[in-house]
Symmetry: C2
Subunit: 180 residues, 2 copies
DNA sequence: AAGAGCATGTAACCTGTTACATGATTAT
DNA sequence: ATAATCATGTAACAGGTTACATGCTCTT
């Protein structure tokens, strides 16, 4: 499943522009599927060419025309077929874990920094989850709720693991030891 | 951090061939960093060209020469510099979660199949973790142990979440309800 | 006899990323 | 004033995947 298919899926929720979809990639999808304008716009053009979307150009002053895409019946069918794949992957590419594998070649302060940065990133996701929930999930399909919960569970697990096991990689400083 | 850098890191553990490194990508690194021969071999060639590795060709009968690579001092330095990046990413690209977002457009049996397939994949990772541990970790650097533990923690969290929340997406069948 | 493991590599391909290009409006 | 938001798009580039090409040995 590529960016094209995800765009198709997002458009089952109603017409939207590339700009709108980007925002969805940055909120609901942020924790498991990244996409930039450089892949979204070409995806939408291609889907239109192939008749899976229709495009309505809404003229605007001072801005480029807003292009609102709408999924066609053919698009829905193609999406349904894509969703028939019962072996979708879940890939992780972690420079973080790769780095930690070589922690013994690093300086203590750099290891600390890497760990802290990761915890910071996780915290950002958790904040994002919270803000999404505040916007109200009542009208969300169950699938979206399931996915959000999945993200929360995994984020919590990662956070806990790092906090409880960072001592494996970094010696607690004298000050911290004194405080504790 | 790309495949090149990871290969460099793996070679700090001692000389190895591309074939050997592939096996490491399939065991220790399998849960967070994939790489195939198509990226490993070119990476090693390139690193040799750049003087970061030396290569000893060991003639073999009936097989291509075994090329054993060894990291150079320059290679170690380049690796150390790469490990100075204190903001390494941790990216997830999940067709699984993307699919689940659109579960309301799917048939029950397909949702079941997707969920079961994912649980199967997770189980495979857990088996892999077990077999790695049985090989003995005593001589492993702390970083590698940390990373293995991270993988185990995340796998457990994903497994639990799916088992405890699949009811959000699929109605329990009459038979199961009767049994329970 | 079949299949797995050993062992290397290339070329075409696919996909996505980054940088560039443009420019008005609105909020701080 | 400055930054953010709205709004689209392309071209060059980077990186990895897949399929292809070769062929022996050991295990089942």
């Amino acid at each position: 499943m590529d960016v094209k298919t995800v765009c198709l899926g997002m458009l089952t929720d109603g017409p939207a522009s590339g700009y709108d979809l980007k925002k969805e990639f940055e909120s609901t999808f942020a924790h498991f599927f990244a996409a930039g304008y450089g892949s979204i716009y070409p995806a939408l053009s291609r889907l239109s060419e192939d008749g899976l979307l229709t495009c309505e150009e809404i003229p605007q002053e001072g801005k480029p025309d807003r292009k609102v895409y709408c999924i066609t019946d053919e698009g829905r069918q193609v999406l349904r077929d894509a969703l028939k794949n019962t072996k979708p992957c879940h890939k992780i590419r972690s420079e973080f874990l790769a780095t930690m594998c070589f922690a013994h070649l690093m300086e203590q302060e750099d290891i600390q920094a890497v760990l802290d940065h990761r915890l910071g990133d996780i915290a950002k996701y958790q904040e994002l989850f919270r803000s999404i929930e505040q916007d109200g999930l009542c009208d969300w399909p169950q699938g979206a709720k399931f996915v959000l919960g999945f993200g929360k569970a995994v984020a919590r697990a990662m956070e806990n693991y790092i906090q409880e096991n960072r001592h494996m990689l970094v010696e607690e400083s004298a000050t911290e030891a004194a405080v504790g």
